[in-house]
């Protein structure tokens, strides 16, 4: 790959990296997914930027699955779709977690309003101490 190609792919990788980090910061992408993307993108940038490493990986991949250059577009599309789907999963997961938390608090408060619970337990403790 020539210098212009390396530069172009590095720019694309940095853009995707910033996108993923921003999604993770805003809580729209689960941090575990974020870590996987960051490791993969940084790894790809290293491979792209170091010619001997790129040659080795190219030879190795080509031996396993010879593919045309068009595959790069398919790969890019898949990556975007993957981030999008994981973002939606994270958003739904966050909403579910918030519902579970609110429900837990509401149930605890309603049980506290009924006779019993902590205050009664504390009174019993005080009686025991007396």
């Amino acid at each position: 790959m020539n210098i212009l190609g390396t530069f172009f792919l590095d720019i694309v990788a940095v853009a995707v990296l910033i996108w993923v980090l921003d999604l993770t910061r805003r809580g729209r992408l689960y941090v575990g997914y974020g870590v996987i993307f960051v490791v993969a993108i940084v790894g790809a940038m290293i491979v792209i930027s170091v010619p001997p490493l790129l040659e080795f990986v190219t030879n190795w991949l080509d031996a396993l699955s010879p593919v045309p250059g068009f595959t790069l577009l398919v790969f890019g599309f898949t990556l975007v779709m993957l981030v999008y789907i994981l973002t939606q999963t994270t958003v739904i997961s966050n909403r579910l977690a918030e519902v579970v938390q609110e429900l837990a608090i509401l149930r605890m408060k309603s049980s506290a309003d009924s006779p019993g619970a902590e205050s009664a337990a504390r009174e019993m403790d005080e009686e025991d101490r007396d």
């Binding site: 575990g32 938390q101 049980s111």
Partner: protein, 239 residues
């Protein structure tokens, strides 16, 4: 400061939760106590009902960070002035908490962390894996905040009401180094109070083999993002 809530996040701690609750009640009789049952499947719920302790039960397991967040949300809406969290596995000694409260009040900390390493200032007593992790996060904290925190992963913490809102507004992994860095970057005062911790006798640690690899990566990323987020929050406040 008059209203303090003690919260114990617990998951599958049937063997120890009873003694932890009784110890808190005996040593802190004037404080309110809740347990956050993070979707336990070992019968811990029944133990808590028998103990007649206020329990916020997650219908499914959300993880330690979310359990802590539930306690903070409750403390926020119920108007508590401070929150103390301690683990449900029996590793923390409730007899040390009055000293923690006294130091917290006297030195006016926003968060005071019960620290296993603040006195020795080294990790010689910790197993190798934990030693590396503690060293990493302690150094990272110092780099991004200028203040070293020796025990970033302690479950025993006391926090003032003014940090409840920032801690529920953003998201954290386990409210460890990433939360400490985030709050420090927002200008809150965080200190350490020396404690001793017993070894776990029953149950399982929340960290599996895979999470020993994932935890440092996730926490490191959240530390980095926490610095950015805190900067953005401060900029918004300034406008």
């Amino acid at each position: 400061m008059d209203r303090i809530l003690v919260a114990i996040p617990a998951y599958n701690e049937r063997a120890t939760i009873g003694s932890v609750v009784n110890s808190v009640r005996a040593n802190l009789p004037n404080l309110d106590l809740i347990v956050v049952d993070d979707g336990s499947r070992d019968g811990m719920g029944q133990v808590l009902r028998d103990l007649r302790v206020m329990t916020a039960t997650h219908l499914c397991n959300l993880g330690y960070g979310r359990a802590i967040q539930t306690a903070i949300k409750y403390a926020l809406v119920e108007g508590y002035d401070a929150l103390i969290t301690l683990d449900g596995d029996g590793q923390h000694d409730a007899r040390q908490i009055p000293g923690l409260i006294e130091r917290f009040r006297r030195e006016e900390w926003d968060v005071l962390v019960g620290s296993r390493y603040i006195q020795s200032r080294n990790y010689a007593s910790a197993p190798l894996g934990r030693r590396i992790g503690m060293q990493l996060f302690s150094v990272l904290t110092r780099i991004v905040t200028g203040q070293r925190v020796y025990d970033t992963s302690s479950g025993l913490k006391m926090m003032r009401r003014r940090v409840f809102e920032p801690l529920t507004r953003w998201h954290f992994v386990d409210f460890h180094a990433e939360a400490i860095v985030y709050l420090m970057r927002l200008g809150y005062r965080i200190g350490e109070y020396p404690i001793s911790v017993a070894e776990r006798k029953y149950g399982q640690s929340m960290y599996s083999t895979l999470s020993h690899l994932a935890y440092p990566l996730k926490t490191s990323l959240m530390i980095l993002l926490g610095v950015v987020e805190a900067g953005l929050v401060r900029r918004r406040r300034g406008k």
